[in-house]
């Protein structure tokens, strides 16, 4: 009835958190349709988007950016919670998204992570400019 090799103990899709940013740096995250860092386009969906893109901001400049493949998206249930947990554990303090599900909202609000609503399809850089976070 089953197939494949044993995957145990439990075949969770895991994604290790990234180390938190240095003090004075604001870490921003968005879900993106591609992995092009600052030029990645913001996805319509949040938790199940193919990439999570992280941008570190200091004094109105992006000092670091990276796109990470969203391995959590393949999960069955609770994907919003898993992604929310990853963001919180990775030191993200601001999330850009067109829309967020109720579970991820619960995680982010409990952790005091700010959320800015942005339209899908724009690049992260453009979204940050519109919010006057990059100038």
């Amino acid at each position: 009835m089953g197939r494949g090799m044993g995957l145990g103990p439990f075949p969770q899709q895991a994604l290790e958190p990234i180390p938190p940013p240095p003090p004075g740096v604001l870490r921003v995250a968005a879900s993106t349709d591609d992995g092009n860092g600052l030029n990645a386009r913001i996805s319509f969906r949040f938790a199940r988007a193919p990439f999570l893109t992280i941008v570190d901001l200091k004094d109105g400049k992006a000092v670091d950016s990276r796109s990470i493949q969203n391995l959590l998206a393949a999960g069955a249930r609770g994907v919003g919670v898993a992604v929310g947990q990853w963001l919180v554990s990775s030191g993200v303090r601001l999330v850009l998204a067109p829309h967020l599900g109720p579970n991820i909202m619960m995680v982010l609000s409990q952790a005091g992570v700010k959320v800015e609503m942005v339209p899908p399809g724009v690049t992260i850089e453009e979204a940050l400019r519109r919010l006057r976070l990059v100038y």
Binding site: M1, G2, R3, G4, M5, G6, L7, G8, P9, F10, P11, F44, R45, R48, A76, R77, G101, P102
Partner: protein
């Protein structure tokens, strides 16, 4: 936008409303529509939309896990049987025996096993198909393995596929035809959707089912509207239905022989008999939805 059509009780006309909503949306609002048949234990939507003209996806879906015990390592300590919340493992003289019909595949047994004799292996949940149909609707259908319990998991996957197909083709509307009831597959159908249309018949049984469904929708925070189907079978009761539901009623659709005939011909009613009373009433409901939503 994802619109889900559901009802707490079977046979009230979910597939009827969903299939014709697809036709309506395609005619009036969108070049294409992607439909999802989320009733994976009795999938009918593809047939209601005229059947497949071209299959674009056909694959097996392995979305669940089952434990397998390596008996050469197992020393019959019984921890797995004790830890299983679903009584799916019992200790026989020769060692632990798994009752797969009770297993939920969550893996507690594998984690508590002190000698790591239990691994989880992928298990087939069902099949996934996507087909083009004669009236230009792409239908994503699932087929749950007979006698299996992971329907919610399969429904999530179908909605995910529909989303992907819709984004590739830049299709705005997805219509989900849910299973009857309020259990696992229905919760999966509703979760994350933008609008729920509940289809109610003017009978106490159907009203009760829809009220139970509305409780579920409320916990999930989904906006809900209603269509009262076959209202003329019990016209005296419709006012009470409307009052007790307490949500916006898009309209009333009469019982009409044309509906059954349309199914027999495998043509959605709006195409089969646009002048029929049920067609006209249905279009009125959808117009009201369109005005309310796109004002």
């Amino acid at each position: 936008m994802e619109i889900v059509v559901a009802s707490g009780k079977g046979g009230t006309g979910k597939t009827f409303v969903a299939s014709n909503l697809c036709v309506y949306l395609k005619r009036n609002l969108s070049e294409e529509v992607v439909a999802v048949d989320a009733d994976v234990e009795a999938p009918d939507l593809l047939m209601a939309l005229g059947g497949s003209t071209r299959e674009v996806v056909r694959e097996e879906f392995y979305g669940s896990y089952i434990p397998a015990i390596d008996m050469s390592i197992c020393f019959n300590c019984g921890r797995c049987a004790e830890a299983c919340e679903f009584d799916a493992i019992h200790m026989a003289p020769e060692g632990p025996v798994i009752d797969y019909s009770k297993c939920e595949g969550l893996g507690t047994c594998a984690v508590v096993c002190s000698v790591k004799a239990i691994t989880l292996i992928e298990d087939k949940t069902g099949d996934i198909y996507a087909s083009e149909t004669p009236f230009g609707i792409t239908v994503v259908t699932g087929d749950l393995e007979l006698g299996k319990g992971n329907s919610g998991r399969l429904v999530y996957e179908l909605k995910e596929r529909a989303y992907r197909i819709a984004s590739e083709k830049r299709v705005e509307f997805r219509v989900v035809d849910a299973a009857p009831g309020i259990g696992c597959p229905v919760v999966s159908s509703i979760a994350g959707s933008d609008l729920l249309i509940t289809v109610v018949e003017p009978t106490p049984q159907s009203l009760k089912g829809s009220l139970r469904l509305l409780e579920v929708a409320e916990t999930l925070g989904i906006k809900t509207v209603a269509i009262i189907n076959k209202y003329n079978l019990n016209p005296g009761f419709t006012a009470e239905v409307e009052k007790k539901l307490g949500v916006e009623v898009l309209g009333y659709v009469p019982y009409d022989d044309a509906v059954v005939k349309a199914y027999t011909s495998a043509v959605p009613l709006l195409e089969y008999s646009p002048a029929s009373k049920a067609s006209e009433a249905l279009v009125k409901c959808f117009d009201r939805f369109r005005e309310g939503w796109f004002r």
